[in-house]
Symmetry: C2
Subunit: 184 residues, 2 copies
DNA sequence: CCGGCTTATGCAACTAGTTGCACAATGGAG
DNA sequence: CTCCATTGTGCAACTAGTTGCATAAGCCGG
């Protein structure tokens, strides 16, 4: 129930076409609410049908032509309502943790390489976030909006830091298990 | 593609009926791969159909009768294969971060209470994990299996710790914004 | 001026997870 | 011994997200 609200947020930040939205999701909002272009187009159609957004009138609506959307007052109200409404956290699902647990019964064979790979992916994502922080949030400035967005980015940075460290820890544990295994 | 593997793992740890599995998911595996009883029954049927598990022959298969399953060799092989296979991390989706970002454009009205509520939920989950750690992983013992399971539990503990602290930080930020808002 | 590449939009089918409910057996309480 | 809550199993419909592909316009090189 959140993709429409992610799109409303993005469109309020800046009216855009479907493809522009897709790109912005890839570089920003998608870090905590990812979506494919197919999802986005479908949802844009729904939101337009519900009268929450509208196509900017300047462009003609032919296939292969850019079509930009903006948020209507009803859309802003819906977003404000949703943002303020109490919501329970959704249960997480983490395949890597599940695989570790499975490895406890079927063996760790082949898992270590992928752990190392995931560690590198998280380290790279962390670096990306840090670059965004340097670029968009230089120290000691920013109004209310910037402070909130920075807060969200900090969550991303700290989470990637956490996973990088946790995977280091897991790999160290694997190394220790290997030694014990050889000795036993 | 992971629910069947979560079930195989659980069944290898201990053969169980659908309801027993459901309870164990609620208390353990479900912390990183949640599932409802409906999902579990459906999946047990599929896994049986594929010949990866079988119903223990002791009980009669009538409705309202307990029916326990155990993993067959093919099921163990499939789980080992899946565990070792390289997998890309799935994109995360976090509605709370999205709401913060939305609040940057539509205002923070009404959000603070829910932040506080989420903070308490995470604090409570953290306490649950710590109790499990005290109970199941007393310091200075445990074989390979225990060490891996402890590693997974540590991820849970550290993540809940992270979220509790991050939400404290966010709430402090909100308080600061309120002051600035009143003064401005 | 045509063939292929890029940009842009979008439909259809599929997979996974959620919600709502139904139904059978069992074990007390009255 | 009957009503009813609890335990246990399961189907059906729905929602959300993914994958694969189709289509159209514009542009650029030969």
């Amino acid at each position: 129930m959140s993709l429409p609200h992610a799109i409303l947020t993005a469109l309020l930040e800046k009216p855009s076409s479907g493809l522009e939205l897709t790109r912005r999701f890839d570089r920003s909002i998608g870090y905590f609410w990812s979506a494919t272009h197919q999802q986005i187009y479908r949802e844009l159609g729904r939101l337009e049908g519900e009268g929450l957004i509208r196509a900017l009138p300047s462009e003609q609506p032919a296939r292969g032509q850019k079509k930009a959307y903006e948020v209507l007052p009803a859309g802003r109200e819906e977003l404000a309502r949703w943002t303020a409404a109490s919501q329970d956290p959704k249960p997480h699902r983490d395949a890597l943790l599940l695989r570790l647990r499975a490895a406890a019964v079927v063996g760790t064979e082949g898992l270590e390489d992928d752990l190392r790979r995931h560690r590198e992916l998280h380290a790279r994502q962390l670096e990306t976030y840090r670059e965004i922080e340097r670029r968009d949030f230089p120290p000691g400035k920013g109004g209310t909006e910037d402070r909130l967005r920075h807060l969200v980015l900090r969550a991303g940075i700290d989470l990637e830091t956490f996973w990088t460290q946790w995977l280091d820890h897991a790999l160290a544990e694997f190394a220790a298990l290997d030694v014990r295994g050889r000795e036993g």
